[in-house]
Amino acid sequence: MTGHEQFAEDLTLYALGSLEGDAVDVVERHLEECAACRQELARLEGEMALLALTTAGPSPPQRARQRLLKAIGREPRSLRTVLTRRRWWTLAPLFASLVLAVFGILLWRENVRQRDRIEALRADAASNQATFEEAKHLLALLTDPSAMHVTLVAAQSKPQPAGKAIYMPGNGALVFMASNLAPLRPAKTYELWLMPMHGEKPVPAATFKPDPHGNAMVMMPPMTAGIEARTFAVTIEPEGGSATPTMPMVLAGS
């Protein structure tokens, strides 16, 4: 046992703001003289901050931002109003000092703000840069017309049309790659469909045309997030696409 253990539970409640009555004064008096308990309080605040950071909810309305910026804009004006009530020349030296002081405070405040912001941005930038470089290389490989596209099939069999869809239902991200597609007749297009999990109406994902080698790629078409997919399919449709798929399916996969 240490002398601090008696404070353990009360310190937790104090950090939460749940402590009441005389116990609050007792804890605060103890905190004034006990570095270990101050350290423990900071740690508890940290754990509660992480708990708070798990909170998710709607974003604040746009008017809240305008209200804040307006309120900030109003702050210096109240100072000017007070000063103009007196004859200005009697306040000239004070005014000059105030201008310098306000200017100094603004510079210092800006400095503090920028320093914090730079620290946060620097960390973000390093992480984002690495992710961006990786994504850029991947995108270059996927979209470069000179890149080789090789479809491997069972030896001695004729290459058949094939497609691969990569899909994340959570955010609706979709990449689709196809190979060995037959050339289209004029005024026709291939169309990619998402067949939802629970039998709802097929969702048109994108129309596309293959290159002369029969290869095609669809990257991140606009999709509604949250649709669970049972099957992806490709059909041939009139130019511009259709609202419902026209049979037969050229490709399908679950």
């Binding site: 937790t12 749940s18 900071a42 708990l51 909170t55 931002r65 804040l68 914090d116 946060a120 992480s127």
Partner: protein, 165 residues
């Protein structure tokens, strides 16, 4: 300030709304927290923690003050936060928050509920005891145990702070 607002307003608003369950009151807290930061920028000391967690804690304190219809009880300068994880690193931050969520899910229902009543509903331990019919000592111990479970999840092998649980 506009940049700081764009970066952290959703967090401050979410915390205030969770406590107050009233969008108008949550907006007022959002406004007050950022006005305080504007008027007293030096109250946040970057050497004592990251800005996001600090704002989250301030937002919660202010929301509970509003809930209890009382004047602000906590000076901004008094809020000091120690977090071992580097929350500026997105991956590390995501890992830490996932540990918190996993720990909450793993808690016995009555322990998690008691922590939520104290943390998000701003109830005092005696109010919780009155509402749940549990003895006061049980409520205190349960809240402490919940936070220590959180601590162990974040730092496996860490001690349980000052006292035994």
């Amino acid at each position: 300030m506009a940049e700081l607002y764009d970066r952290y307003s959703a967090l401050v608003y979410a915390v205030a709304l969770r406590v107050l369950t009233d969008t108008g009151a949550a907006e007022d807290v959002l406004q007050e927290v950022f006005m305080q930061l504007w008027r007293h920028p030096a109250s946040f000391d970057a050497r004592r923690g990251s800005l996001g967690p600090w704002l989250a804690v301030i937002a919660r304190h202010r929301a509970i003050d509003v809930l209890r219809k009382r004047r602000p009880q906590t000076d901004l300068e008094d809020v000091v936060i120690t977090i071992e994880a580097n929350l500026e690193d997105n991956a590390e931050r995501a890992r830490a928050l996932e540990k918190v969520r996993t720990s909450l899910r793993a808690m016995p229902d009555n322990q998690r509920k008691t922590l939520e009543m104290a943390f998000f509903e701003g109830m005092t331990h005696s109010e919780i005891a009155a509402q749940t019919g549990e003895p006061l000592g049980t409520v205190k111990t349960r809240i402490r145990a919940a936070l220590m479970a959180l601590r162990r999840a974040l730092n496996p092998g860490s001690s349980s702070g000052l006292g035994t649980v």
